[in-house]
Each structure stands twice: as structure tokens, then as C-alpha cells.
Amino acid sequence: MSKIGVFICHCGENISGTVDCEKVATELSKVEGVAYSTDYKYMCSDPGQTLIKEAIKTHHLTGVVVGSCSPRMHEVTFRKACAEAGLNPYMCEIANLREHCSWVHEKGEATTEKAISLVTMLVEKVKKNKPLTSIQVPITKKALVIGGGIAGIQASLDIANCGHQVILIEKDPSIGGHMSQLSETFPTLDCSQCILTPRMVEVAQHPNITLYTYAELEKVEGSIGNFQATIRLKAKSVDPKLCTACGLCSSKCPQKKIPSEFNAGLGTRTAIYVPFPQAVPNKPVIDKEHCNYYQKGKCQVCQKNCPTGAIEFDKPDELITEAVGAIVVTTGFNVLGTDFFPEYGYGKYKDVITGLQFERLASASGPTLGEIRRPSDGQIPKKIVFIACAGSRDPAKGIPYCSKICCMYTAKHAMLYQHKVHEGESYVFYMDIRAGGKNYEEFVRRAIEEDGVNYVRGRVARVYEKNGKLIVKGVDTLLAGAQVEIEADMVVLATAGVSNQGAEQLAQKMHISYDPYKFFAEAHPKLKPVETNTAGIFLAGACQAPKDIPDTVGTASGAAVKVACLFSQAQLIREPLIAVVNRSGPPSFSTCVGCFMCETACPYHAIEREEIKNRNGEVLKVVAKVNPGLCQGCGTCVAFCRSKSIDIQGYSNEEMYAEVMSLFNN
């Protein structure tokens, strides 16, 4: 027999202004199973809570219903009070008399009637409620960071400095990512390498960080606190323990004309190579696709020349499995997408280059050692045209979103050019200048006002070559749509920032969601910016959307804090409001028939298969089982279950039915 206590809160005048709270309490005392019913001005206050606690003890209450504000506001408060009085917290329910009744209705009889119904419904539910205990999940206190750009570096260092183990994997031979390719950084024009390379070294030397370069994620299993990540260590063909990084192998390699990824195709590299002199680790790998030995079966010049015998051909890739408690995805973005605008002539004219290629031209470590020289003939260009939004913000031909970083880097490029070529002329064709950020607008103004960069508001229709010049044909919309033709020596396209190759496959491997542009989706765009919908997997940097360095580093530290928060707990404690498959004794063991419709329906991959065996170890039945660490309590499986074998704890069919039926029975 239930003994329910009902507590009606006036909420000052918020509820009692339109609802007759005393009448609600009196009427409720008549409901079957209600042992105690009262009202009070502020139920959430200390005396209010004491009132509830005392009533539980005095009247030996088995359940509590509080008629007050939204459960979002004070459910935690009241459940805690109940727990302190010895009642299971999940035997306490909140009837929302404020947002659902008093605030939205006029004062009157009907409003009070509605309040009575709302509380009665919850009384009927509490009668069916079962005591629940929170779920405890153990945590492996080791994090996996995928991607060794600035986001991955920052996240790894932050987590490692909190005292936790980190595994950082990077698909390329060196960490550093796009930031290592940049010349100077906006808005301060400090050298990108000077601020990045010390951090790369720190990663390599940190006692808490295990770095795997030339490695990719193969698969992930498990759930928050307990993931098993399988990592493919691609064969480097060079034993890093024996290699002394003398560089003899690369200097002897006969394959010398491979476009260098690090120099964005403006320079060349060999088949056995270190991507750039400041690489971490500074040991070469063999690019099998271009190596004579791997392609044609003979050469091995590097092996013959290696003084330490470090070259090891034909070693297979290695697969390792690591147990980790959390994953941070920092796989970054790409700046390709020149095919959006064939009329700009990228690929046809050597002197039409991308923004990333310009970074390499302007960089002291680049193919021209920092001198701005055009790729076709090595001349210093006297006139450069920069085309912003070459693909971005163009739903018809490119991508509809703004790539965010281009306005700033284009201003920086024009500025760097003016600083290096004093007599040069630079033009920027733009749609709008988006310079939201600390000191960003000032930076663009500086390019225009101090460095004399010519900003032309308008689009470029076509770039074509005539008498050795690149004719840039466009429109100046601020001069009443006047057509403009500029004879340029070089054209730089601010190509769109797009998601990285393989982003979609990676997301599917990890069961995280992504948007139509294959950027990874955060759990909430504002309030959960570094979480994914999969518990324990976090995001940072430009894998979410194009981001500048400050934002990237910010999200990386944010994700690191989320990981540290998780690891600071002895065990993972979760609300027990999750799905469960019913179980009973033999012979049926469960009403579940093992159709596994729920498995298909579950967005969180929380449904597992459980074999019920007899004492001889023979499998009698296979039924669904919900992994409590993964289940988010969404209830999709409940709707899908044909045999009604799954229920959400705290919101079971029986409880909800009782709640709804009370409306008809009164």
C-alpha cells in the first residue's frame, strides 16, 4: 500500500496567484494512497525542504510528489532532500504547476482543476515507480587524441599536464598539421613555426604522451570510460631506433621530383623523406607509392647508403590495440576545392595559386626561402590579385558556408606582400570583410590604410592569360557595377575550407554525427561545443568547421578539460534513466524474442547481444541487453520493440499508462 506525500508550493505568488494551492492540497489528500498533503509558500527553501523530510519520517512515506516549478529547476533539489530523509530519490516526482499551469492560465476554477489533475497524474505514477540506483562505470584514465595538428597538440599537452596518459596519433610522418605550413599568423604577424615547433618538441618529450606518427585509427569499440581503439601503424620502412637522421638516404634517393605536400606542391621531395626540417619526429619514412623499390622491385639505394642499416623494406603495417577512456578528434580540415571555379584557371596557369601555396612562398622555410616569387618563372610579381571567397558563400557553385579564415589570411597575405615587395601593387576582390575577432578589424584596416592594399568589393568573373599577364576580369560594385580589368602577375585564390579527406569514414568508425559538408557535429552548437552525441568522444579544431588558430586552441583546451573532468572521477556515475530489457526465470528468461529491431533503431549502439546459457554452457536463448554506459535513455528502442520487452527506467510503460489513465478515471 502506497503512502504518498503531496507538497504544493506557492512559489511566492507565482503559483498561488492563479491557482488555489490550499484547495489543491485538500483535494489531493482525498486521493487514494495519499497519506499526507500540504502546501507551503516556498517549498524549495530550507524550511520547505525540512517539511518534506519530516513528513517522510513521520508518515513513513513511500513516495513524494512536489507541485512546484519545472523539474528542470528543482528536481535535483527535491530528490536530494528525499534521499537525505532515507527515501529513494527516484520515488520523488515533480508536477510542473508553474510553467505548465499558473503562468500560462488566468486565475480561476479551471486553472485550479488543471493543477489538481497535474498533481494527481504524478501521484498515480509514483505509485508505480520503482526505486532506482545510479549506474557506476569504471574509467580507463588514458586519452586517445586523433590528429597531430595544433588542436591535437594543445589537447594532448593539456590532458598530459593534468597527469593523465595520452596517445596521440597522426596520419602523416610528422605532427604539426596546417599550422606548420603557415608563414606568419594574424593578427600579430608572429612566425607560425616559432610558436608551434616548441610545442611539437614538448609533445615528443612529454612523459605522459605516447606519439604514433604515420598511424591511423582502424576501429573503435566500447563506450565512454572504456574504449578499445585499434590503431594501424603504417610501415615507415625505416627503423627509428637505428636511424640517426643523418639525411644521407634522402640525398641519394633517385626519385626527386615528387610534389612536396608540405610545400603545397610548390617544391619537390624524394621518396624517402622527412616532410620538413623541423619535423617531429625528425626521422624519414618511405613513401611506397613513389619508391622505385616498392613500385618496380629494384633500387634500394637508400639501404645501400644507410650507415646504420636502419632501412627495413617490406615490413608490414602493425596493428595495436589501446584501451582508452576518452577520445578527442582533432583531424582538421583541408583547403582544396579549386574545381569550384574552373574559370579562375587554377591548374591551367602556373601563377594562379591557392592561399596555402602563398603561405609557402611567404614562409622562410618555403621553396623560395620567404621571397615572393611566382612559380612560372621565379620573377617577383609586381601586381598580385587576391580573390576572396573562391568557392565559399556560393550555394550555386561552391559551398554555402563562410570559410571564416580567408578574410583574415588574405589581408595578411596582401600585407606580407607589401612588406616584402615595396613597389608592388596588391588588389583584394571581396564580398564582405568578415573580421570578427580580437584585433582582427584593426588588422584589416592596417592592411588597407597603412600598407595600401587595394580592396575592391566585387566578384571576379574570369582569369585569363594574355601576353604573359593574367587578366583578372571583375566588377567593382561600389563604383556602380563598373567592370574592372587588372593585369596581374600572380593570382591568389582564397579557396574554401572543406572537411578533411576520409572524415566521413572516420565519423562512421566512431559513430559520431557529421553535417552535410562532412564536418563533425557537436552535441549542441552553443552549450556543448566540444562534445559529440557519443559520450566520451570530444571534438576540437577545424574538424568541426573552418576555424582560426585562437578558436582551435580554445576548443582543444576545452575538450582537454572535458577529458580531465571525466578522468577526475573515481567512477563514472550516471542517472539510471536508461532502457532495460526485462528478465525473468526459466523457461522464457525474458519476453525478448531476439529480433534485434532495437539494435537497428539505437542511435548510440547501446544494444548488445546476450547469450543465456545453462549450466553446461549451452546457449538457450539470445536476448538483447542494453549497455548502461552507452544508453542515453532516448526510448527509440522501446518504440521499436515488438514484444514490449524494453522499458525506460523511471518512464516505464506501466508508469506512463498509470499517469495518463488518472486523467480519465477522475
Binding site: 571555379f341 574552373p342 574559370e343 568573373a461 574570369r462 585569363y464 594574355k466 576580369k473
Partner: protein, 299 residues
């Protein structure tokens, strides 16, 4: 079925299929660009393509109707399409780029808006479903000629040519869905199959002045002049077009253009059907070459 018989039947089917291609000449092809009409029909004959002209066709509204009234600009092409439907045609060829553009735009707009579709059907007092496939000449040639054309060439058209697409053949891309909008390739591809060398030039899809030919000849001289000059500077020995308006501007307005440029450009302008026809050995008369203002001296 024996293989031989299978192929024989296949060929018969193909012929029946080909016979079903509708033909909408439009006003230009009956008037100022009669030679375009002649060359399309002559080439069709040479390639075994049989056309079935849409009976009782009317003007598509050209450049005027859509400047005056939306209903009119949709009703005129809709009637043509409805006639094609009545005639049981699954696809129609529209050689004039302006007609092609207007017909396609009408089909697109009526497919988007059911209310409008009913309204227009009421105006033209005919049923309109909207299922007819509309082809321009390049699409026609790409489908029926690109495989066989090389083997049929008797007199290779071995000249440097500027393939000029103009505006109406490729824009707006959303509606026409034809080739790369700013860098179309199909004409270049077809021309290279008959031995020509298409040049890389800058004015492929620039405007020639279009319908301003009569009212504002000064604008036409400037726009057409600039593009002719670029083509000639880059070594083009002929301009290849697929639009009556482009042709008349570049050909008929040559004196005004030369006056504007203060030059004497003599490069001939050929319809793609004329160039291919020549390569296939058709006579200049059959292709209407003598009708041009700028003499075609390439033969």
C-alpha cells in the same frame, strides 16, 4: 536469339527511336539564320537522324516576351511543348540557343509550381505534362555523332578554331544543367573530333550583345568586337557558334565591329553543324555557307 539477328533488331529499334526526335526550328531558323536550319537538316540526313517537326509551332517569345509579361513568356513555349506532347514526341531538338533557353526555362518553372502550371494550361487551352526532353544541337551531336563522327570525316577541318558558346546555351546552370557553366567543353570536344584545334581563349561564354543587334548596334560592336579580337589574337581561323543571335552579331555586324576596332577582321563565323558538315564532305551550298556576310574562305 542468334547474335547477328540481335544486332539487326537492335539497329531497327535504334532507327525507330531516332525517328521519334522532334524538331523545333523557331523563327530565326526560318528567317535570318536559314543556313543554320539547312545545315542541321543536312547533317541530320548525313548522320541518319530523322527529325519530325512540331506541327503548328509558334514563336518562343524570344528576347521580348519575358521582358513584357511573365504569363506570355511562359505560355508561348508551353504551347510548343504541349504540341510536342500531343504529337507523342519524347524529345525535341531546339537548335536556336535562345529558343532552347526559353523552352527549358518554361519547363523548369512550370515543374516547380503546380498552380502556375494549371494557369498556363488554361491560357493555352491545352493539356501540359512537362515530360518532353529538350536538347540543344550540341547535346544532339554529342549523343548521335560523337562515336561515329571520326570515322565519317572525309575532309578534316584542320584549322585553329575558337569555340564560342555565348550566354544562352549554358546559363543559368541551375535550369539547363548543361556542361561546365563557365568553362564548357562539349563543342571543343566535337570540333577536335573533326580535326580542328580548339584554342584556349577568354571569351567562350561572354555575351555578344544578343538581342541588341538592331536597337543598340554600338553595344554589340563593342562586346562582339572584344571577343572577336581575342579569338583572332590567339590564332583562331574560324569562330564556331551554335546560336543564331551570336552568328548574326559576329557575322552581319562585322562592318560595325571593324569600325569600332579600327581593324579589318576577316575571320569567318560558322555554325558547328556547318563545320561538321564540311568535314563530312557535304557541299557548301547544302550547308548554306554562301548565305554568310563574311565569306567562308576555308573550304
Amino acid at each position: 536469339m542468334p547474335l547477328r539477328q540481335y544486332f539487326l533488331e537492335l539497329k531497327i529499334n535504334e532507327r525507330i527511336y531516332k525517328m521519334n526526335i522532334g524538331f523545333y526550328p523557331g523563327c530565326s531558323l526560318k528567317g535570318s539564320s536559314k543556313e543554320y536550319n539547312e545545315s542541321v537538316l543536312a547533317l541530320g540526313k548525313a548522320l541518319d537522324i530523322e527529325f519530325e517537326e512540331i506541327k503548328d509551332w509558334n514563336c518562343c517569345g524570344a528576347s521580348s516576351a519575358h521582358a513584357l509579361s511573365k504569363e506570355l513568356s511562359l505560355s508561348l513555349p508551353a504551347r510548343v511543348l504541349a504540341l510536342a506532347e500531343q504529337q507523342g514526341l519524347k524529345e525535341i531538338v531546339v537548335p536556336c540557343a535562345a529558343c532552347y533557353n526559353r523552352l527549358s526555362t518554361t519547363q523548369y518553372e512550370l515543374a516547380q509550381n503546380e498552380e502556375l502550371r494549371e494557369e498556363i494550361a488554361k491560357i493555352i487551352d491545352m493539356s501540359y505534362k512537362g515530360g518532353v526532353k529538350i536538347l540543344n544541337v550540341l547535346q544532339l551531336l554529342q549523343r548521335f555523332a560523337s562515336d561515329v563522327i571520326e570515322s565519317k570525316v572525309v575532309k578534316p577541318f584542320s584549322h585553329q578554331v575558337a569555340c564560342y558558346y555565348g550566354c544562352l546555351l549554358v546559363r543559368p546552370h541551375k535550369i539547363l544543367q548543361f556542361d561546365q557553366v563557365e568553362n564548357p567543353q562539349i563543342m571543343d570536344l566535337l570540333m577536335s573530333k573533326i580535326g580542328a584545334t580548339p584554342i584556349d581563349w577568354a571569351f567562350k561564354t561572354e555575351c555578344c550583345g544578343g538581342g541588341f543587334s538592331v536597337s543598340r548596334t554600338d553595344i554589340v560592336s563593342k562586346l562582339s568586337g572584344n571577343l572577336l579580337k581575342d579569338a583572332v589574337d590567339r590564332g583562331a581561323k574560324a569562330i564556331i557558334v551554335a546560336c543564331p543571335m551570336c552568328h548574326s552579331n559576329l557575322d552581319m555586324r562585322r562592318p560595325e565591329i571593324n569600325e569600332y576596332l579600327n581593324a579589318n577582321i576577316e575571320v569567318p563565323v560558322l555554325y558547328i553543324t556547318q563545320a561538321i558538315g564540311l568535314a563530312l564532305g557535304l557541299s557548301p551550298e547544302a550547308l548554306g555557307l554562301e548565305r554568310h556576310f563574311v565569306p567562308v574562305s576555308l573550304i
